[in-house]
Amino acid sequence: MGRELTFADAKIIELVNKNFVPVAMDDWFQRRRQDAEGDFFRKVADQGPRKGQGGGTRQGIYAFTADGKLLQYRNSQDPEVMRAFLLNALKSWGTLSPADRSAARAGIPELKKIDPRYVPTLAKDTLIVNVHARILEKENDFFCHGTCKFPGGQRASHDHLWIRETEWQALLPKSPQIGQEIEIPANLTYRLLRFHLIDNTRGEPPMWSRNEVRKAELKLAVSEIIKDEVRLKLTGAILLSTDADEKIAKRGYDASMLGEICYESSKRKIVKFNAVVMGEHWGEGTYTGGSRPGRAPLGIALELADPSKQADRVPPQAIRETSGYYEAGK
């Protein structure tokens, strides 16, 4: 909603870009962290109305100084309210006392220790794959963007699949031969299916449990070798459903997959990871109401991320339990 309304507003974008240092964080982690950053965030939030009683949410939009003096807080997605919020924050900033303004410019010490329970770490050489889901509708012999009553539900979602180096290395045969089949590590397959083939177009949905993976016939094979570049074709038939009998399952996704992974053989470097998962999804979760009735087309597109972009390094939603995410097949 914030993407759709607040931060899509031209005036708000201009105000933020000119006057603020913008940062986006996941409150689920921030409010739990037991380290200097967690303490700092709670100190800022405690100056506003959301004091997180009982470990509750502190989500919202905060403007504050680098040393932690709260200037404004709101939890609104109305662009008009947010424009006023930003202007008021700038007014508060402009009327800070010289001492407060000086404190806001003081150097920030290095963060020496982090709370590893609540700071997902992107290990070196992790492959990041962007994952976008979108509701679609049939149109003639093809598809078009779907429509949905839920505000913003027609847009593509964002998440990221993290693949450990040992896993993506296992996908690249050392002596590739056309037609050669490559075994996909089970944890990677289950991670992809359980945590990334989800309808997250209306917020965070329930993830699939391991036994809700009813069919996972994925096949990866060498399709082409052009000089140093090896192309792998990924195909798959997938059924995810809350009941073994999909006809009575409250939620499910019956889909096919097609993709291509290309790598440079000499450097053992993946240069392309494109895939499409296309099928019918049905049902919704407790916090993702407003789904379309019955079974409807849901498309999921995967492609290599650009790790130089901060937004592409946002951790996967399902990594809140790190071992559960990486060991999805267990």
Binding site: N17, V21, V23, A24, M25, D27, R134, L258
Partner: protein, 81 residues
């Protein structure tokens, strides 16, 4: 453990299913991929250079003499929400 083993176990348990989804046609792949991905018009919020590290944002704000704007949600605002 490899997936094939898991699948064999699944089949042994009788996890059957109905009509399967049609395979994605190779000639439609590129068009489908583009159709699903976000397009520039719906990514206006990305015109803001969001940082994803509050501590680094503090350093930047102190050095540039600017206030911080924190977009805090239960679920990452730039991720799956």
């Amino acid at each position: 453990m490899r997936l094939n083993l898991a699948l064999c176990l699944g089949l042994a348990l009788g996890l059957t299913h109905g009509k399967a989804s049609e395979p994605v046609k190779p000639e439609q792949f590129g068009k489908l991929h583009s159709l699903i991905k976000p397009n520039a018009g719906e990514e206006k919020f990305m015109e803001i250079p969001w940082m994803i590290d509050l501590w680094e944002a503090r350093k930047k704000a102190a050095s540039e003499d600017k206030p911080i704007l924190l977009w805090e949600m239960d679920g990452h605002p730039l991720g799956c929400v």
